[in-house]
């Protein structure tokens, strides 16, 4: 049981917001010590694993091209394209962003972020769409729109990213399984991650469109005064 102390150290260390890297290293050293490993052997194990797992940090190789593209307005162009989209409802707009975000993640692009995309672009568009359709909403629903826009970024990011061969998660999987003597190719892990990326598109869209229906029902008096063009499915 005492060997589990490392896990305890990680849980407590991260809970009280100590430096993640330091907490993990200390957890490793303490676990080794209580298990009777000599200090030098622990350090050697750490060093060896660090060297053989250098490929986990291979994403650095893609930074020059991404940095250069960002300097010349990659994000601004994406924002411009998304801004041109006219979508009548919160649910549809958010679903569309989920698709774009997820597909971009599969291509290894971080075309997203709460700071870079949601706050300046997607949230105002969703709020605009809601205001057009429902007029002034209750506080509760205003918060719901914000919450959903916060969530969509996470959905696309989490479940799309492993579709990219050099994603941190993919390389972590390859590395951890290698320590367990199972040899995997990154590309096979990336391919195996595609179905879940497609599933989140469906599950996420269902949630967003559900809120469309909910809002439509609640504010139906206000919609009826406007055109029926954008009736929901």
């Amino acid at each position: 049981m005492i060997k589990l102390i490392g896990i305890l150290i990680i849980i407590v260390g991260l809970a009280i917001k100590l430096d993640t890297i330091a907490v993990v290293v200390i957890a490793g050293v303490v676990t080794g010590l209580v298990s009777g490993m000599p200090f030098n052997e622990i350090v050697t194990t750490l060093g060896k694993a660090f060297v053989t797992n250098r490929y986990m940090t291979i994403f650095i190789i893609s930074l020059p091209v991404i940095g250069l593209l960002e300097r010349y307005g990659l994000r601004e162009r994406a924002a411009y394209l998304i801004g041109k989209i006219k979508s009548a409802t919160v649910g549809r707009l958010t679903s569309l962003y989920l698709i774009i975000r997820t597909v971009a993640a599969i291509f290894g692009l971080r075309l997203g972020g709460h700071v870079q995309f949601i706050r300046p672009l997607i949230l105002p568009m969703a709020q605009g769409a809601a205001e057009n359709r429902y007029g002034k909403m209750d506080d509760e629903d205003v918060e719901a729109v914000k919450g959903l826009e916060g969530a969509v970024e996470n959905y696309g990011n989490f479940f799309g990213q492993n579709g990219f061969v050099a994603a941190g998660g993919v390389l972590l999987i390859v590395g951890v399984l290698k320590e367990q003597k199972i040899v995997l190719e990154a590309i096979d892990v990336a391919k195996a991650s595609i179905p879940i990326a497609i599933i989140i598109l469906i599950v996420g869209a269902l949630q967003f469109l559900y809120f469309d229906r909910k809002f439509d029902k609640k504010y139906k008096d206000k919609i009826s005064s406007q055109s029926d063009m954008s009736k929901n499915v």
Partner: protein, 318 residues
Amino acid sequence: MLKNSLTEILYILIGIVCFYTVYKTLKDKNHPSKIGTALFWGILGVIFTFSRIGLVWGNKDIFINDTLVGYMVLVLAALSAFKLVKFNKFDESSSEFKKKMSGVIGNKIFVPALVLAVVAFMVAQFWTKQLGSLVALGISAVLALVCAFAITKGKTSEMAEDTRRLLEMVGPMSMLPQILAALGSVFAAAGVGTVIADGIKFVIPQGNILFGVIAYCVGMALFTMIMGNAFAAFAVITAGIGMPFVFTQGANPAVASALALTAGYCGTLMTPMAANFNIVPAAILDIKDRKYGVIKYQLPVAIVMLIIHIVLMYVWAF
């Protein structure tokens, strides 16, 4: 072996990025933590470039020994712990310039990004045996960069500065996966996985695939919720639950492991411990309920996704 020496050359390129960061840090007169930052990236650069340098020309005997690397890793951890790794300002393009250029260049700006992904995929697909996924990525990164220079007409000095900016913004956290793998390695040597597995054996019968899959997926989600980090959970839970209850029962390793990690992400959606995904955005989006304002909308989706993970792993991995 061509694959090994090309991979080693990739690491040297990464080392060069680290060394460039050191150079710019030392030249910066107003840097808030000059020595600590330079030391951090310098050590990382040395490990990347020289730890197996002999492999470039196929000589296995020229390397830095693992114990020495281990001590260097301890120094890196200490520098990170005492918050000595910082960055100052970068020479970044202004937002007006970005706006203007995005209009001038237009949609062509996406071409290098597509080259990066598509070439990496194609090379990895056709030459997996000869080159492997990593070298494929290296090749695609070089091609995409050439393409990016052609389209943006940018300067190499700009590229160097932007690379350093992106690396320094991630900072010490960029080596978290590597550190976690090292932790997993110590856990394995110390037999931590066996302890967890022995504990779980009391709860679920070994040899039952469905129970194994449920334990792996739910274990990933729960541990991620507690730790706030799916990567850390993956190293621990794969050794403790994944190996004895899923992989040794004949699961397809790529499928089961890929689903296990995203099952962990379902946990990330449900925990305030993952502050940078759930709490910070609530603040950025000005949501009143800072702690659960995003989480409460993610909760139903996370639970549905977790159930789908279990079903998918059970059906598809076996």
